[in-house]
């Protein structure tokens, strides 16, 4: 079961063709994800978000995504019609986005947004859908699901909003979840709690998780495996537990520019970058 990977990506490229020339955001990325937690780390512009979105085939023009192979549990995602692809989105592969302030529809009640996620994939009665939505909100540890269901996004705090976002993406029970900087917009105090909830759900449901972040430490404590991206390429792939042994100078640089409590008082090292790595 665990032998066959959930997702296989080979030579993924994302290009943006504009009047001012072609920009390559992702330049030949290959990796596999099973029912495990894989982290993708990189600084802004390294192509990590674009990698996540191209798996869902949600790169909008003028962006173009191509890959030699993009297989999801034996299905060739690139060969699917838009209709079949839509049936995959949400139902099999879902994505939690960065900031609930922007990723929840501000004029729609939370309940309608949750129920919609369910209703586009299954024929389900109103009361059944409502029941599932309440259960899902309870699963992300929202204390008063009834009230949140009839609330609007602006009435929730960031931490609560992000838990709603997680609930909305997990309600049709997908097999793979892409979490694109799911805690970057949250207060530090709430970050850990949201992560704990996300981690618990991923484990309980046996899903695969792609965790996209710029925070190497966070990713290494939270994931099984880490892909380090730089300028649209994966420069190093390493088990999270062996991160201290990372060999690539860019990964080492990322590790060394973090301060440590009780560490030496020397100035932090400046991150070294070299275009030749990519």
């Amino acid at each position: 079961m665990t032998d066959e990977p959930l997702l296989e990506v080979e030579n993924l490229r994302v290009r943006f063709e504009t009047s001012r020339g072609v920009t390559e955001a992702v330049r030949g990325v290959s990796f596999q994800v099973g029912r495990e937690r894989v982290g993708i780390v990189g600084e802004s512009g390294s192509g990590k978000s674009m990698t996540g979105r191209s798996i869902l085939r949600l790169i909008r023009p003028p962006g173009v995504a191509t890959a030699d192979r993009l297989m999801f549990s034996g299905i060739d995602l690139q060969a699917l019609s838009e209709r079949r692809m839509r049936a995959m989105r949400g139902r099999r592969i879902a994505m939690v986005m960065q900031d609930p302030k922007y990723s929840l529809n501000p004029v729609m009640r939370i309940g309608s947004q949750l129920v919609e996620a369910l209703k586009v994939h299954e024929r389900i009665s109103k009361s059944k859908a409502r029941e599932r939505a309440l259960q899902m909100l309870a699963d992300v540890q929202i204390r008063d699901p009834e009230r949140v269901l009839s609330a609007y996004p602006h009435e929730l705090s960031g931490g609560m909003g992000q838990r709603v976002m997680i609930a909305m993406m997990l309600i049709p029970s997908p097999d793979l979840l892409i979490a694109d900087e799911p805690t970057s917009a949250l207060d530090v105090t709430v970050q850990l709690e949201v992560l704990r909830i996300l981690d618990g759900l991923v484990k309980d449901r046996g899903m695969g998780l792609i965790f996209i972040s710029h925070d190497l430490r966070l990713v290494s404590t939270f994931c099984d495996r880490v892909l380090v991206m730089y300028l649209g390429k994966i420069v190093e792939e390493i088990d999270a537990s062996r991160l201290q042994d990372a060999e690539h100078p860019y990964t080492r640089g990322l590790l060394e520019c973090l301060p440590a409590i009780g560490g030496s008082h020397e100035p932090l090292k400046v991150l070294k970058r070299d275009e030749a790595w990519a």
């Binding site: 979105r53 986005m97 529809n105 004029v107 609007y152 009435e155 049709p172 105090t189 709690e193």
Partner: protein
């Protein structure tokens, strides 16, 4: 564990307070009260300005009444009768109390009370502006959405050129050409005015004046032949004005939609697997409606006051035509009365769009 739980508590207390305070009706009522107050202030300002204009223009209303050949005594008597010998503040108070009682004075041009003239003219304008706005919204909003969704491709280009034409063609020219082709050459529609001459008698006899609007009154009275004839007459001016409104509304819809389509919640809806049609027409348009309401209200208001040219071309007995004729005849009472009515219509529209806002946007409640 306990640390993260404790850290979360203050935030959720705040959330619960926010959710608990969703007493919708009292909030809308409070808003309504505030709006009502600002409405009175605006109205007072409007009356002050119209009064000031009346006293500042180099026109002597008393002279206009008695004529240039009156004796000094006759002139003085007229001045006294019109209250013009009183101090200015007293005159303003008198003006206010007159206006509140619906007395705008007498029109020199028609020799009728201005309020009666306005009561006749306003429904015609309202009818025209309402149908034109309806046309502008029903066609303009979808056109703007289609344009935004196909940004940079041919449907967008076609719709934008059509819109630009509506924007740049002078209304009176378009009106004349439309009359020439559809009335003069093809005979598909009725000509200038609200009815054919042959229907005017049956309008007098069969139609009860419930509202002053020919279309509504004839329908309510069951005089369907009059209704049909009125429809052929209003079609062209509605088309001409509606085209203008459509051009404006579709342009604004396009830009609001482009803004909304780039938002993250739209991507989130696609991630959920929501069909593209629903993403566009429910999610994105639902949010674009918020600023659109203001645009539609403004365009409606502009049609109410600004259809002078159209009314002239189509000999449409509306408020625009009335005020213009009064202006040329130096009929100050009529001009001021018409101005106040348009001002009030503006204020009422503002109030309505404010109320609609709270319906469409939960954040405004």
């Amino acid at each position: 564990m306990s640390v993260s739980q404790g850290a979360h508590d203050p935030a959720s207390a705040e959330e619960e307070a926010a959710i608990a305070g969703t007493g919708l009706l009292p909030r809308i009522a409070g808003r309504f009260g505030k709006t009502l107050f600002s409405l009175f202030v605006t109205l007072f300002g409007l009356l002050l300005v119209t009064f000031a204009i009346a006293r500042l223009v180099p026109l002597d209303p008393a002279l206009a009444v008695v004529g240039p050949r009156a004796t000094q005594a006759q002139y003085e008597a007229a001045r006294k009768e019109m209250g013009l010998d009183q101090p200015i503040p007293v005159q303003f108070v008198n003006y206010l109390s007159d206006v509140v009682r619906g007395d705008f004075g007498r029109s020199n041009l028609t020799s009728r009370p201005v309020i009666d003239d306005v009561r006749d003219a306003f429904p015609a304008t309202l009818e025209l502006a309402t149908l034109a706005t309806l046309l502008g919204v029903l066609l303009g909003v979808p056109a703007g959405v289609v344009s935004a969704v196909n940004q940079g491709r041919w449907p967008d280009h076609v719709l934008r050129v059509v819109g630009l034409l509506g924007y740049s063609m002078p209304v009176f020219w378009l009106g004349l050409i439309a009359l020439l082709i559809f009335y003069g050459q093809l005979g598909w529609v009725g000509g200038p005015g609200q009815l054919d001459v042959s229907y005017e008698l049956s309008y007098e006899l069969d139609v009860t004046a419930y509202t002053g609007s020919i279309l509504i009154d004839s329908a309510l009275s069951g005089a369907w032949d009059v209704f049909a004839n009125a429809l052929t007459h209003i079609a062209l001016p509605v088309f001409v004005l509606g085209y203008f409104s459509l051009a404006y509304i579709s342009r604004m819809t396009r830009s609001f939609m482009l803004e909304q389509l780039g938002q993250e919640y739209v991507t989130a809806a696609r991630v959920k697997g929501v069909p593209e049609g629903r993403v566009i027409w429910v999610h994105a348009l639902g949010n674009a409606m918020v600023p659109l309401i203001t645009v539609i209200a403004l365009s409606y208001a502009a049609l109410l006051e600004g259809s002078v040219l159209t009314e002239t071309v189509f000999a449409w007995p509306g408020l625009g035509l009335y005020i213009t004729q009064a202006l040329f005849a130096a009929d100050l009472n009529a001009v001021l009365g018409g101005t106040v009515v348009i001002g009030v219509a503006f204020i009422v529209l503002n109030l309505l769009s404010d109320l609609l806002y709270t319906v469409v946007d939960p954040r405004a409640r």
